[in-house]
């Protein structure tokens, strides 16, 4: 034992200090397992059935809307000239954006050793995958001839045709496809130790068999852990650039065009910030409910939520900066079409949407400057919903830029049809159906990872001195 370190607690960075308190309620390893695993093993509560039935109903609306779309054609939507993209693309970008929080929490925060991520990463990753599933539906169904949508993939064919590699839509196919694949892998690899835990706790043969297959023979040996940690680290490394690339490329759908109001270089960073913003807001929305219902309050503490709210504040302000900068550049560029597009956004026929966006995305997060607000469950729940609404409207405002471009003769006004609305609502059915299944059958919090950041996991736990010194040792260990 070296000389006791005597750095006072007050001087230590908060994160280090708080790491010690990531899990509240005096839970030990067993308690953590119990808390997380129990919801998947207990008798299914009636409330779950009710929620699931509701979600399935909404999913039914989604399915029916899509079937009708395929039967009749994209004309059932409000699309027209000059607005060739409507709610389908708005929803696509909206869902992809929500999907961003997962990778950010899993990968970037992991690489930055932000241990508070462990309580929420599983949840956020699941959300990512389900959001990406919702997102991927839209570009598939929004095309005029759905039965040929697969032509967007570079498949060998008798026509000898490649897709057009200059098209941002094709880049989208690769970007979102990669993102979806890596996210699923990442999520699944993270799940393996916990699936093994469920297998070991299984009371029925069926459960043992299914979880046994899914856990790929995990026994928790040292060798398994070494490989697991390496694989996890590599996947985190692969995912990190994806956080930036996916929404960058989604933003290219707009930025690469010549449409005034779309053709701007700020789009990639602005889209990424917006995506993280909306993703975190969605995690907060869902987490606030889930920790209440499933009793995860000791694992997902107010400290976690506060940290997320800080990120919401940061990214919301970034997005606000981007809105302002767009206006500045539109004026500074001296391009009359560009300048008109932005003035028209704020004061034209869609001004209502623009100001909803500004209120929700720029003004509402500013409440998080106050600690009390950051730590108030009702406030954060309400604000996170506002942010979700605001971010949907951001995509709406961007897409609707089409309604007035170069030739005033072709200007129009887009109105969604009932089918636009039903399809959008229906996509929440898909999301919640998957989410409820996830909550019912899989551990919603990464058991192994949470244990890893508990004091008991520290090799020095229980051996050294107690009190303030322990913090110092911990710092040294890193």
């Amino acid at each position: 034992m070296s000389t006791p370190n005597t750095i006072p607690e007050a001087l230590l960075p908060t994160s280090v200090y708080e790491e010690e308190q990531l899990v509240h309620g005096g839970l030990n390893f067993h308690d953590v397992t119990e808390v997380v695993a129990r919801p998947t093993e207990e008798k299914t509560p009636i409330a779950w059935y009710v929620a699931f039935a509701l979600a399935l109903g909404v999913l039914g609306i989604f399915g029916a809307s899509i079937l009708y779309l395929i039967w009749e054609g994209t004309g059932i939507w409000g699309l027209q000239q000059p607005v060739g993209w409507g709610w389908a693309i708005v929803n696509f970008v909206f869902w992809v954006g929500i999907g961003h929080a997962g990778t950010l929490i899993s990968a970037i925060l992991f690489l930055f050793r932000q241990k508070w991520r462990t309580s929420i990463n599983r949840f956020a990753e699941a959300m990512t995958i389900f959001a990406v599933a919702c997102a991927l539906t839209f570009p598939g169904i929004h095309v005029g001839r759905i039965w040929f949508a697969y032509w967007m993939f570079p498949l060998p064919n008798q026509m000898g045709m490649w897709p057009n590699f200059r098209s941002p839509l094709l880049w989208d196919v690769f970007a979102v496809g990669t993102y979806g694949t890596v996210s699923i892998l990442f999520w699944y690899v993270g799940l393996i130790p916990d699936l093994a835990t469920l297998r070991d706790r299984a009371k029925t043969k069926a459960r043992a068999l299914i979880y046994g297959i899914l856990s790929l023979g995990w026994r928790g040996s040292m060798r398994h852990w070494v490989h697991y940690e390496k694989a996890y680290l590599i996947l985190a490394g692969i995912s990190t650039p994806l956080v930036l690339s996916v929404h960058t490329i989604v933003s290219f759908d707009f930025a690469v065009s010549v449409v005034p109001g779309w053709h701007t270089t700020i789009f990639p960073p602005y889209f990424v910030a917006g995506a993280i913003f909306s993703g975190f807001a969605m995690v907060v929305t869902l987490m606030v409910v889930a920790r209440q219902v499933f009793g995860f309050k000791d694992l997902v503490t107010l400290n976690h939520l506060e940290k997320m709210n800080k990120i919401i504040l940061l990214t919301g302000t970034l997005v606000g900066y981007a809105y302002g900068m767009e206006f500045f550049i539109a004026w500074y560029s001296g391009n009359e079409y560009e300048a008109f597009a932005f003035v028209n956004r704020a004061f034209g026929p869609y001004a209502w949407a623009y100001w909803i966006m500004i209120s929700c995305n720029v003004i509402s997060p500013q409440f998080f400057w106050f600690k009390k607000m950051r730590r108030s469950i009702p406030v954060m729940f309400a604000l996170s919903i506002f942010v979700n609404i605001g971010m949907w409207f951001e995509r709406f405002v961007i897409t609707m830029t089409l309604h007035r471009d170069f030739l005033p003769s072709s200007w129009g006004y887009y109105m969604p049809s009932i089918w636009d609305i039903l399809t959008f609502i229906g996509s929440f059915g898909l999301f919640f159906t998957l989410f409820l299944l996830f909550l019912r059958f899989l551990p919603a919090i990464a058991i192994a990872e949470v244990k890893g950041v508990m004091p008991e996991a520290d090799p020095h736990h229980g051996h050294g001195h107690h009190g303030e010194v322990r913090h110092a040792e911990h710092v040294e260990a890193h």
């Binding site: 000239q81 993209w85 001839r145 057009n164 839509l169 170069f406 003769s409 200007w411 129009g412």
Partner: protein
């Protein structure tokens, strides 16, 4: 010349296989009384049920069909059954796959235009103007071009019906013989014939024959839109009815006084062309100057250098004030004409008078057919004093003018019918029940006739009151002849055997007249040989479509100054208060084309309204009435009232509401029923064009008006570039200098464009915005219609459109559109060399062709992401949101019948749902010309061998197409002109279509 070949081919017509006959064959299966009713109904396609999708009748018919499908054992999968019959003996000149062209003539009341019709395997598909015909000179207007759609209209009269029960011609002939026997006995007493007007010499001959055979029979010709006021005006001025024919190419100053020279009326295509020939700034003889004085915008007013808003009832005082000013300029106006005016227009009148006085013999004051004869007479006095008679206007003796003018004719016919002594009424074409003057109760009177016979192309409001409804042939199915305004004799020859076993007017008239000949061919040929020459001449006339040297001898007209002055004195002092102006519609004319989807969906040139008319009023009046566009207003005149939707139209005269005739039809068919508002109930014989003392009040309700353009300002963008002549002379390159941009560089290596490369130049100076190109494109390229609801959503499919922008004439307040200037700009795919649409398509469905450098659209490859359309700066791409050919209003949601399918141009793909489409520069024509050039051993396609449909039909030749790599081609020469500019070229799209800037030639006195 095509008759034999058509007869050979008629067996191949799929009439017997179409939906109708198919239903009828179920009769044996279903056998119910309802079903029999359905089959025998006058409107067998269920025209009246269309708006009610689950009526009992359509339910029964569906039930019948399902029953039959089950019982007839056709199985679950029905594949189209196609029989291919080879020719045993191939008709001469017919190569399957190659179109044939025949000359013919179409007459829309007195608008007679020579045409050349393209036919594919016996199906006419495309109508173009006949270069040899003086009214056309190669151009064709919207009515003529859209006629091909009416030919295949499933709502036509398809059988002979008596009291809505199907009969045959044999039944009718037996019936008619019975009647005629009686009439021959009593000299025709009790026989009344009401016919459409006709420009046919054969018709006139048979009419005379009829009057000789049955002297007691009464013959009336009624037409809601006619030149009766023009004839009355010349009678007042010159003592005899004369047909004025303008020579705009000779006029330096043209004053169109409530005259839509370019929009409607006989010779409007020719007038546009003659005017445009003097429109280029370097035109020989200098640029002409056009003044328009009118109550509501017409295409003529939109093309004018100066336009004055004048209420219709003020036109007379305006002319008298002009005469007074001219007197001041030393022009010898006869006494009693001039009357010094007062008011806002004085400055305009003074400047105009000075301009006219300086151009004696080279000016023209043209008054439209809607003004009172007295007003016309004043104008003739002015023209006479200016020495214009014989110079810029010539007079022709009208041939075969009925003794009674149409309005008087319908009045007399109605009075006779109302008297109850009419035994038999024969209505030859037309629709007097719908369009007779409001104070002439024709409909009520008609029902007092014992026997009522209506020969009609399609059942209409009049047929609904007739007992016998007879199918009339379309002009593409019949033999005929017609005389144009200047007397040119031309022939109507059929392109196809009558699809529905119809007879033409002359054939029925010949029967009534007891003629030996009853075949159209024999009748027309007999008239020809009698008047125009030999068998050889006949063959040549058939080939050319026109008879050489038949234009009328011009009449020397001498002004009867006293009569003209008397007329001027009789002119009633204009009353204050609201007045109503009735317009001839640019799309449905007087209502006869209401069931033509191409015309219905065409945007009206100045309002851009489709599928409807509207009460047009200026912004000030709208404010006074408290109404906005799309709200409803009740119009009242003389105790009659009509409710109509409001459209605020800049440039409308004060206290004037203008509304087009021809809408609100109730028996037009599935396309035309209940579109817009019927204003015939307000139109009296006296107030046929202008009704004073009207009132308008706002009422509850919304009119869903479908306009293709919602925004009317150019927002200060350099899209249509224009300058005054003087500024142009100082800086001819003004248009190119309007946009400054850095050098345009590309990121990657550009395509190389060698060999023949296609391009287009559109002269905004000569475009009058007539819409001719839009219908030409629609017919050539199989473009579907989408219906009013979809048009309101912005889903119309036109590949070429005419953008119309208003600019305020008020320099102080650019938002004040009380007085407005208008510009038109035809916009179609620019075929950009750097096409923004191409690189965004994920599946490479729109790509550049190396050969010709076109931006090609590969329909089969398109999956419909619509990204290309978003990225098109010109927004010229059109998307098939639905399967428009079955979903568009044209079919009421039913699949196309085989007859409707006959309209398609086989050289152009019919696009499916979910793909993007756009202008191709008529690539099918390019390829045909390249093939022909290759066959002829030419290395290159000669200049002028390719003419896209839009360019072909343009009456002013504003659109020129050709090889931009050939410095000697017409298009290259135009592109070298200083006026040439490319729209949005600063985005480096390198458009192949460029525009020639518009030059206005204003009177320097009126330029502030």
């Amino acid at each position: 010349m095509s008759q034999n070949h058509n007869e050979n081919r008629s067996e191949l017509l799929p009439i017997e296989e179409n939906g109708k006959t198919y239903w009828r064959s179920l009769d044996h299966v279903a056998g119910t009384s309802e079903f029999r009713d359905f089959v025998a109904r006058e409107f067998p396609e269920g025209a009246s049920e269309l708006n009610d999708p689950v009526s009992r009748r359509s339910f029964m018919s569906l039930m019948g069909a399902s029953l039959a499908l089950a019982g007839l054992g056709t199985g679950c999968v029905r594949r189209p059954e196609e029989k291919i019959l080879p020719y045993v003996r191939r008709p001469e000149d017919l190569v399957p796959g190659l179109p044939q062209f025949y000359a013919t003539t179409m007459a829309v009341s007195d608008m007679v235009t020579g045409l050349v019709v393209e036919a594919h395997e016996g199906r006419p598909t495309k109508i173009e103007g006949n270069r040899l015909h003086p009214a056309s000179r190669g151009g064709a207007c919207t009515f003529e071009q859209a006629a091909v759609l009416s030919l295949y209209d499933p709502d036509r009269t398809v059988r002979v019906f008596q009291d809505r029960v199907e009969k045959s011609w044999a039944d009718f002939d037996a019936y008619l013989d019975g009647l005629l026997q009686k009439f021959r006995g009593n000299g025709g007493n009790g026989l009344v014939i009401v016919s459409e007007s006709s420009a046919s010499p054969t018709f006139a001959r048979l009419r005379r024959q009829l009057t000789e055979a049955l002297p007691q029979a009464r013959f009336f010709q009624w037409e809601p839109v006619s030149n009766e006021r023009v004839l009355a005006g010349t009678r007042l001025a010159f003592g005899q009815p004369l047909e004025p024919v303008y020579r705009l190419e000779r006029a330096d100053v043209i004053v169109a006084v409530d005259a839509d020279l370019f929009g409607s009326g006989p010779f409007h295509l020719r007038y546009s062309r003659d005017w445009a020939s003097r429109r280029a700034p370097d035109a020989p003889g200098g640029m002409n100057r056009l003044y328009a004085v009118e109550p509501v915008f017409t295409v003529t007013g939109a093309s004018a250098d100066h336009r004055l808003r004048v209420r219709s009832s003020q036109i007379g005082p305006f002319l008298r004030a002009l005469a007074a000013e001219l007197q001041g300029q030393g022009v010898a106006i006869p006494a009693g004409i001039a009357q010094a005016g007062q008011g806002a227009w004085q400055k305009f009148v003074q400047a105009l008078a000075r301009d006219l006085a300086a151009k004696r013999g080279r000016s023209l004051v043209a008054v439209g057919r809607f003004q009172a004869p007295e007003v016309q007479a004043i104008a003739w006095a002015i023209n006479d004093a200016l020495g214009n008679l014989g110079e810029t206007v010539r007079f022709a003796q009208p041939a075969d003018v009925p003794a009674i003018a149409p309005t008087e004719a319908i009045r007399q016919a109605t009075a006779l019918l109302d008297g109850g002594n009419v035994d038999t009424l024969v209505v030859l074409g037309g629709n007097p029940v719908y369009d007779a003057p409001a104070d002439v109760p024709f409909a009520a009177a008609m029902q007092k006739a014992k026997n009522r016979i209506h020969l009609t192309q399609a059942p209409n409001e009049t047929s609904a009151l007739a007992q016998w409804v007879l199918p009339e042939t379309h002009f593409l199915e019949e033999w005929g002849d017609a005389v144009a305004l200047d007397g040119t004799w031309s022939l109507v020859q059929p392109l196809i055997r009558p699809i529905w076993d119809g007879r033409s007017k002359i054939e029925l008239l010949a029967r009534l007249a007891g003629s030996q000949q009853t075949k159209g061919y024999d009748l027309v040929r007999a008239t020809f040989l009698e008047n125009q020459g030999s068998e050889a001449d006949w063959r040549k006339a058939l080939h050319d479509g026109v008879v050489d040297g038949t234009s009328r001898r011009w009449v020397e007209a001498t002004l009867d100054a006293g009569s003209a002055a008397g007329a001027a004195g009789r002119l009633a002092a204009p009353k204050d208060g609201l007045e109503l102006v009735f317009l001839v519609d640019n799309k449905v004319y007087d209502g006869r084309f209401a069931n033509n989807g191409w015309l219905q969906e065409l945007p009206e040139p100045t309002t851009k309204l489709t599928w409807t008319n509207a009460a047009l009023m200026g912004p000030a009046l709208a404010e006074k009435l408290g109404v906005k566009s799309g709200e409803m207003v009740r119009l009242e005149v003389g105790g009659r009232s009509v409710d109509a939707g409001v459209w605020v139209q800049p440039g409308t005269a004060d206290d004037t509401i203008a509304i087009a005739l021809g809408y609100g039809r109730t028996f037009a068919g599935r396309v035309g029923n209940n579109r817009g508002f019927n204003v015939y109930p307000l139109r009296t014989a006296e107030g046929a064009w202008t009704a004073t003392g009207a009132s308008a009040t706002k009422i509850a309700g919304t009119a869903l008006l479908a306009a293709t353009q919602d925004h009317h300002s150019m927002e200060g963008r350099p899209l249509v570039r224009e300058a005054n002549l003087r500024d142009y002379e100082q800086n001819p390159y003004f248009a190119r200098e309007m946009v400054q941009h850095p050098p345009l560089v590309a990121l990657w290596k550009q395509h190389e464009y060698t060999g023949q490369q296609w391009g287009m130049a559109i002269d905004l100076n000569s475009c009058v915005g007539c819409n001719g190109c839009m219908v030409a494109c629609q017919a050539e390229n199989n473009i579907p219609i989408v219906g009013p609801e979809q048009t309101r959503m912005g889903r119309e499919m036109h590949w070429i459109r005419l953008d119309r922008y208003f600019a305020s004439a008020n320099a102080a307040d650019p938002t004040d559109l009380t007085d407005a200037e208008v510009v038109f700009q035809p916009v179609t795919c620019m075929q950009c060399e750097n096409a923004p649409c191409e690189n965004v398509c994920p599946v490479a469905a729109t790509v550049h062709s190396k050969d010709g450098g076109l931006n090609d659209m590969v329909y089969n490859r398109c999956i419909g992401t619509r990204y290309c359309s978003n990225n098109c700066p010109y927004k010229v791409r059109r998307f098939n949101f639905f399967d428009w050919h079955t979903k568009g209003t044209g079919t009421g949601g039913n699949p196309l019948t085989d007859v409707e399918k006959m309209k398609f141009n086989p050289d152009v793909t019919v696009r499916t749902r979910g793909v993007m489409e756009k202008c191709t520069y008529c690539v099918q024509r390019i390829n045909a010309a390249k093939r022909d050039a290759k066959v002829s051993g030419l290395e290159k396609v000669p200049d002028g061998a390719i003419t896209p449909a839009c360019a072909q039909t343009c009456p002013t030749e504003a659109i020129v197409f050709g090889d931009v790599n050939d410095p000697n081609s017409r298009v290259s020469k135009l592109k070298k002109q200083p006026r040439n500019y490319e729209m949005l070229a600063e985005f480096n799209t390198k458009p192949r279509t460029s525009y020639l800037a518009r030059i206005r030639n204003p009177n320097p006195e009126l330029v502030s």
